[in-house]
């Protein structure tokens, strides 16, 4: 489409079944050329990696079976385990879908021709990570914890496991979304101060002394505190080790040195896997803060002491300090959950409100807008955003949200949003005639969509399947097996007639007659 004349008037176009081979023509006075154009939809592609990704996530959705439907038992003997198993299966599906998306992103991340696609999928991943932590992990385990008190029951073990998954998910969401930790930035922080050190210190100064200025800069502490708020403890400890702060404090101030060692120990032992241990851990952090801030035997500069104290304030869950060192709204939400009160309910209410008051949402980043919506309990608005980036991801996400009971239940024959998204995706992959590999998925989606009635399925498959671009005997077998399964006799006849004509055209008269006969025409 590079050279389509701009001034031509009678421009005409007909859509071909093959997206990549369509022509524009001009019924005006001068142009007699045909202009091939390709229709590429941003939200779906033809690459092998994509086909693999779609196949995998379809398998995940398909294997949910009965769990694709969300049921609230209203009568009879209500089995609590059934609900738990249902939630477990749906949660696992979401986790697996996210893993598949990560694998697909990894495949294309180094392909410079797919840079836009990479960013689209990263956006999808951020939204899915947020959706998962908000709705596909906890399943009311916080309420269970309150009800069970401190009893070391089976539920509590399960809830602690969920807590660990949640925290890992939260940290992953926050850090993957904006690409932290940024190794380049960390290097910059150290480089600038190392250069400064080289200029100011004599050549024979020990290494520790040469690097001593790093921890005296504001940017270093901002980095450390940001890493801690984001849950990147090992990176924060690594930066402290590299800075030479430990050696410096050991030589200068026992109290501060011990406090730093205690901070490192606390970070290393952060109890992501136990709520009850977290309470003890937080007690220790508060004690440490109190002891350090009340201690008069500190012999380091006021700035350095304040910096250590700020870090202590953060890990002991000080709201103002967490907000002060957070550069983005999602950072502070993570900090609040890790160090203030670990509560999903508080994320939805207070943490989000405090965080966006301090650091506003960047509306240009659609994943930020979608994440905020998710935290406010709005599921529907995220679906069009996902759809814009990737049709497959959005369709399966809507299916999983429905399975989890997050969307209004849809009535058969009514065109609800899940129905719309799943069917649209199925039609979209069928309209790419040059990509027959995804056809079984399309048919599978239509068949397995819990919102489609059997009549709808039969009619739709009957209309669609006649367009299947079969080439091999295997294709044909599959095609006829679908016709048999759905009793699509007319379609099967039509296929035999098509086949007969193709054979005739190729000069295989006997084969052609056989097919005409099967088509009922002889």
């Amino acid at each position: 489409s590079d050279d389509i004349p701009k001034d031509s008037i009678e421009m005409k176009f007909k859509m071909n079944n093959i997206n990549s081979n369509q022509v524009v023509y001009f019924s005006n006075e001068t142009v007699k050329c045909l202009y091939p154009v390709t229709i590429d939809e941003a939200s779906i592609d033809n690459s092998e990696g994509y086909i693999e990704y779609v196949t995998k996530i379809f398998e995940i959705y398909d294997s949910l079976g009965e769990d694709r439907i969300f049921n609230i038992p209203m009568m009879g003997l209500i089995n609590k385990m059934n609900n738990r198993n249902h939630d477990y299966n749906v949660n696992l599906s979401m986790e697996m879908m996210i893993s598949e998306l990560e694998i697909f992103i990894d495949k294309i991340k180094n392909d410079c021709t797919k840079i836009n696609r990479f960013y689209q999928l990263e956006n999808c991943l951020s939204i899915l990570n947020c959706l998962r932590i908000m709705y596909f992990i906890m399943d009311g385990s916080e309420e269970d914890s309150v009800m069970n008190g401190n009893d070391m029951s089976k539920n509590q073990i399960e809830n602690d496991k969920k807590r660990q998954i949640f925290i890992n998910g939260l940290i992953k969401w926050v850090n993957r979304s904006d690409g932290e930790p940024n190794a380049d930035f960390i290097e910059q922080v150290f480089d600038s101060t190392e250069q400064l050190g080289e200029e100011e210190l004599p050549e024979n100064s020990p290494q520790g002394a040469r690097d001593s200025h790093v921890f005296e800069t504001e940017i270093f502490w901002k980095l450390i505190n940001q890493l801690i708020i984001r849950g990147l403890f090992s990176q924060a400890i690594g930066c402290i080790d590299r800075s030479g702060l430990k050696e410096y404090l050991l030589a200068q101030c026992d109290v501060s040195s011990n406090a730093l060692l205690d901070i490192i120990s606390l970070l290393k032992e952060y109890p992501a896997d136990s709520l009850s241990t977290f309470r003890e851990w937080k007690n220790l952090a508060l004690e440490l803060l109190q002891n350090y801030s009340m201690n008069d035997d500190i012999s380091i500069s006021g700035d350095l002491r304040d910096s250590i104290e700020d870090t202590l304030l953060i890990i002991s869950g000080d709201k103002n300090c967490i907000l002060k060192y957070s550069q983005f709204w999602y950072e502070s939400i993570c900090g609040f959950y890790l160090f203030y009160i670990p509560s999903l309910e508080l994320i939805k209410t207070e943490y989000l409100a405090w965080s966006i008051k301090k650091n506003t949402i960047n509306v240009v980043n659609s994943w930020e807008v979608a994440s905020k919506d998710l935290m406010q309990g709005k599921i529907y608005p995220i679906l069009p955003i996902l759809e814009k980036y990737d049709l497959a991801t959005s369709s399966f996400t809507s299916g999983l949200c429905q399975a989890k009971g997050l969307l209004e239940p849809e009535i058969e024959e009514q065109y609800g949003i899940v129905n719309y998204m799943i069917n649209s995706f199925a039609f979209e992959i069928c309209s790419k005639m040059n990509n027959k590999k995804l056809w079984p998925i399309a048919i599978g989606l239509i068949c397995n969509n819990p919102n489609n009635s059997n009549t709808y399925k039969r009619i739709t498959i009957g209309e669609l399947i006649a367009h299947f671009p079969y080439e091999t005997n295997d294709d044909l077998e599959w095609l006829l097996s679908i016709c048999a399964e759905w009793k699509l006799i007319d379609v099967a006849k039509k296929i035999y007639m098509q086949l007969g004509n193709t054979m005739m055209y190729e000069g295989n008269t006997i084969e052609a007659m056989k097919n005409f006969s099967k088509g009922g025409n002889i």
């Binding site: 389509i4 701009k6 007699k32 050329c33 154009v37 229709i39 939809e41 039609f427 069928c430 004509n501």
Partner: protein
Amino acid sequence: MKPFNSGHEDLVLDVSYDFYGRHLATCSADQHVKVFKLDKESEEWILSDSWRAHDASVVSVDWVAPEYGRLLATASHDKSIKIWEEDPDGTEGSGRRWTRLATLNDSSGALYGIQFAPSHLGLRLASIGNDGVLRIYDALEPQDLRVWTLTTEVKVLAIPPAHQLQSAFCLSWCPTRFAPERLAVCVLDKALIYQRGRNGKLHNVARLTGHNGLIRSVAWAPSIGRLYQLVATGCKDGKVRIFKITESTVSATNKNNSMTSSQLTKDDSESQTLNDEEPENTTEPALQVEILSEHADHGGEVWSVSWNITGTILSSTGEDGKVRLWKSTYSNEYKCMSVITSQS
């Protein structure tokens, strides 16, 4: 891919892809028809054959459904329709690969549009021309494709337009097998839906209103997965229109928005069926038509509209020299999802 010279010596007036999308037929004012094959390796259109098909401009070309073999129909300003069959043994590029099976000479005016009916209706062909008559032909003996019978004739325009005036005629069949036989016929600025009634005759069951100029193109969408039908028109008034058509379950005589054929015939003196002598059945199910959306984005005359195979994407072209692709959102709102321009 680079633009390629069609080889036509005059304007290209119509193109048509075969069912598999791998053959392209073009027709031109140079009286010739050309068939191109898509090369699987290079993904380029390669000329397969070219021949002089008519004695005047060839304005419309269409492929038959693949279960009926490899047939082409062409219509021309010479008032004739010709049916062509490919001879697989004929040498490519010889001009003799396609042989004429039939010539249909019933029109008293220049023809403008033809289209084969969807395959479930049999081997059937509709045409519309300058005489304002919709004609439907059937190959009643599929073994002998040289015999085509004029089975239906409907006078859509009472008085044909003067030859010197600009005019537009086009038609499009309803592709679904799960609805009665229907087609949209556009003559000048009128767009009408015809449906075959229980008496076997075509009745005008609805009108697509709102056009303020010649209707250049009409396209009935495949209705896969939808409980309603969509028809798009491209008009000289600069608008792409999308109409939603639903079956009316209530007797049409009780409805204001829908019309039975008899009502329409009374209302519209220009529209009448020639072969309808007996009173029409007023209990025929009527159609309800509502306009879903209108788009004036082309900023000038709209020249063509067409749907993809699933009826999910509509394309339109206009005087701005752009191809616009329209897609429906969940709320049935059509939005321009892509624009193909000379720069893109």
